[in-house]
């Protein structure tokens, strides 16, 4: 029993953090989002590739690093903290996981190889998300159809842009017709692949939510240390302090739940779904509270486009219903908790 990360995992996380601090400053990201159609930067993707992120999940046999969910869960907290668009985790974590689970070796070779080289963007269409983000610039869209896996390129599908309050997100309503030509996996195999993809995606969203919560907490603490009213920094007022402390408590008790879910993903677990959904709920709760309280600490400044806080708040609001909304995840927890054979109480956690 050892519920802590290996030094190697922590070091890799720290390396990525250092990279993001330098390369993914808010002003850089905002420029991509506000001045380009795609909201994405090939240069940024290239740098991310160099960090090894796009190859992280790819099996060694296909030239990748073959790392697991526990590695991702640490990294994605940083991705969230730094506001990197969440399409990264869809492509490099969830999407690669789907492709790697397919049987068609030629297909896998091509796309996993391209991912390793940073030469492919994967997008995913799944009924939990009525809209698909980054579909327009994807090199390949993986599509759910009655548990089958299909694959298509953007020119094979109709795309209708639907702008999100989160300026980083490029969401599209897809119009497409499944066919033998697009099918890459039948429903019998696809069912498990999609189930794992949904759980991975939910953990990925949770991890980003925790990162976002931490970022908003830091922004709230920083702003309230600088901003003075009544002759004192507002951060010296107990009301603001307690609002910030409340975020910290939520984060402290979301992280271990998240990490347990990632472990369950990596090692398989009979109640994986409930564990993942619990993590997702706890992380979202931290992020949404952080958004509320950090905005309150910012006062009117928090209501502006100019303050960086908005980038992270909007991401949190958008992610709240990405890959399963609160209703979906609560229902999965309820199914496990209220089942006749539920194992609960002391000693049942692991």
């Amino acid at each position: 029993m050892n519920f802590s990360f290996d030094d190697q995992q922590v070091q890799f996380r720290d390396a990525v953090r250092s990279f993001l601090v330098v390369q993914a400053a808010p002003e850089v990201l905002r420029e991509h989002w506000e001045t380009t159609d795609s909201g994405r930067s090939p240069e940024m993707r290239q740098k991310i590739t160099e960090q090894g992120l796009t190859a992280l999940s790819v099996p060694e046999a296909y030239g990748g690093l073959q790392q697991g969910d526990l590695d991702w869960v640490l990294l994605l907290q940083e991705v969230g903290y730094h506001g990197i668009p969440d399409s990264l985790s869809d492509a490099a974590y969830v999407g690669v996981g789907i492709v790697a689970a397919l049987e068609d070796e030629a297909f896998k070779s091509e796309w996993l190889g391209r991912m390793c080289e940073g030469k492919a963007r994967l997008a995913i269409s799944h009924p939990l998300n009525p809209l698909v983000h980054d579909a327009q610039i994807a090199d390949l869209i993986l599509l759910w159809h009655n548990d089958e896996v299909h694959a298509a390129t953007p020119d094979q599908v109709g795309l209708e842009l639907n702008p999100s309050i989160d300026a980083s997100r490029r969401l599209y309503k897809l119009d497409w017709t499944p066919s033998d030509a697009t099918r890459v996996c039948d429903a019998a195999s696809g069912k498990a692949i999609w189930a794992q993809a949904v759980n991975r995606a939910a953990v990925a969203v949770g991890a980003q939510m925790v990162g976002l919560a931490q970022r908003m907490l830091d922004l709230g603490v920083d702003y309230s240390a600088q901003r003075k009213q009544f002759g004192k920094p507002i951060g010296s007022f107990q009301a603001i302090k307690h609002q910030m402390a409340d975020i910290a408590v939520k984060i402290e008790f979301a992280r271990p739940v998240l990490h347990r879910a990632a472990y369950a993903l990596q090692h398989g677990d009979a109640t994986l779904e409930a564990k993942v959904s619990h993590a997702r709920l706890a992380c979202a709760e931290a992020a949404l509270l952080a958004a509320r309280n950090a905005m309150q600490a910012h006062g009117a400044m928090g209501y502006t486009w100019e303050a960086d806080l908005q980038m992270f708040m909007k991401r949190a609001w958008a992610l709240e219903s990405f890959w399963g909304d609160r209703l979906f995840h609560k229902q999965r927890v309820a199914q496990a908790l209220f089942a006749a054979d539920a194992q609960i109480g002391p000693g049942t956690t692991f």
Partner: protein
């Protein structure tokens, strides 16, 4: 106690309802934080004013209907029920006007109020400064008296509607060397005076809903001083009382949102009940909207008997602002993955109001005195707790 409307009140409601049914635009106007939308809303205000509806509580000779507070509540109920446009000149009509009526000269009232009622003049407020938000007494912008003029220098911020408005009212330090709430004056000025620069501030939704205003030796005629020189704080506090009190957010607004929320829940009921918290929140929101309505009628009834508005200003502010957030958060949960869509997204059809409303609701606990300040006020002034 008599909770029946009089025949006159019923008649008033019927008249308002009939007029609104005939005149409310069938499609929503564009946001009044756009130039086009501001113009459209100004036209709508003029149309309202033609019936005395832009300012029903004002005396008839100033463009109103001389309505009492119960009639105002009835009007607001009909207005929100009809889904009529937002009030682009509310800073003037609901905040400045009561102050003008109490402290303005006859000349000022005649000069400003009728044009305000018709929105020929629209008004922005100039309270906050970069160093004076919740701590309004920290104002540093100056108004130096020179003969028949004030010379204004400094900076205001968070001026709602200021990007397109015609006039500004605000507090300026008119006594050199004075501090805190002493030596402030309440001054009105057109926003196109030489030396005024209005810098729009983009809000969360990307639109310039408020602005920074810079004053560089702006010369304002002294007859634009409201009340006495150095009396600004007292007068502004009266305005703040109105703002946080009854007229800023009529209960009908929240009843409309609550009813819409119930309808949204009902339309998605099977889906919603996967999360029992939603049903509970919907019920609670509706009950709280009712409670806010009842509390407002009770206050209006007390005022009619001669009582003065008291701590209601602060308790109201907290209650409606937190209710508004809760209602919109609940709606966001119900909408799920569609909640994030911008109003103009094709898939946002029919739900565009909710994201807009959600963003707007988040400002509620902040503006007009943050809810932290309101709680301090309740604790210290209403409950008599010791100051820090």
């Amino acid at each position: 106690m008599d909770l029946n409307y009089t025949q006159e009140q019923q008649q008033f409601r019927a008249t308002v309802r009939g007029w609104l049914e005939a005149h409310v635009p069938s499609a929503p106007l564009p946001s009044f934080d756009t130039e086009e939308g501001f113009a459209a809303h100004r036209q709508w205000e003029a149309k309202l004013a033609s019936q005395g509806y832009s300012a029903v509580t004002w005396p008839k000779d100033l463009g109103g209907l001389g309505a009492d507070l119960i009639e105002w509540l009835i009007f607001e109920e009909e207005y929100w029920r009809a889904g009529a446009p937002g009030r682009v000149n509310q800073n003037g009509i609901f905040l400045l006007a009561p102050t003008l009526m109490e402290y303005g000269t006859a000349e000022q009232k005649a000069r400003f109020l009728p044009r305000m009622a018709t929105s020929e003049d629209t008004w922005a407020q100039g309270w906050s400064e970069p160093g004076a938000g919740s701590d309004m007494a920290a104002i540093r912008s100056t108004a130096r008296r020179e003969g028949d003029e004030f010379v204004i220098n400094g900076q205001k911020i968070w001026s709602t509607r200021a990007v397109y408005a015609d006039w500004l009212f605000g507090l300026f330090r008119s006594e050199s060397g004075s501090s805190r709430h002493h030596g402030l004056s309440f001054i009105l000025m057109p926003l196109d005076l030489p030396g005024i620069t209005v810098r729009p501030i983009r809000q969360l939704n990307g639109l310039p809903g408020f602005a920074e205003i810079f004053f560089d030796n702006v010369r304002v005629p002294a007859n634009n001083l409201l009340g006495g020189e150095g009396e600004g704080w007292r007068i502004a506090m009266a305005t703040a009382g109105f703002e946080r009190g009854l007229m800023l957010r009529s209960p009908a607004r929240f009843q409309k949102t609550a009813a819409d929320l119930v309808a949204l829940y009902q339309a998605n009921r099977e889906r919603c009940d996967a999360d029992p918290a939603i049903r509970d929140a919907v019920m609670k929101c509706w009950m709280d909207a009712e409670a806010y309505t009842l509390a407002t009628y009770a206050t209006a009834s007390r005022l009619a008997k001669g009582a003065k508005i008291g701590a209601e200003a602060s308790t109201n502010k907290i209650f409606w602002s937190e209710l508004d957030v809760k209602m919109h958060e609940t709606a966001m949960s119900i909408l799920g993955a569609r909640a994030e869509l911008m109003p103009h997204a094709p898939r946002a059809e029919g739900i565009a109001q909710w994201l807009d409303g959600f963003l707007f609701s988040l400002a509620g606990p902040i503006y007009a005195g943050t809810n932290e300040i309101q709680r301090n006020i309740i604790a210290e002034r209403m409950l008599g707790m010791p100051r820090a």
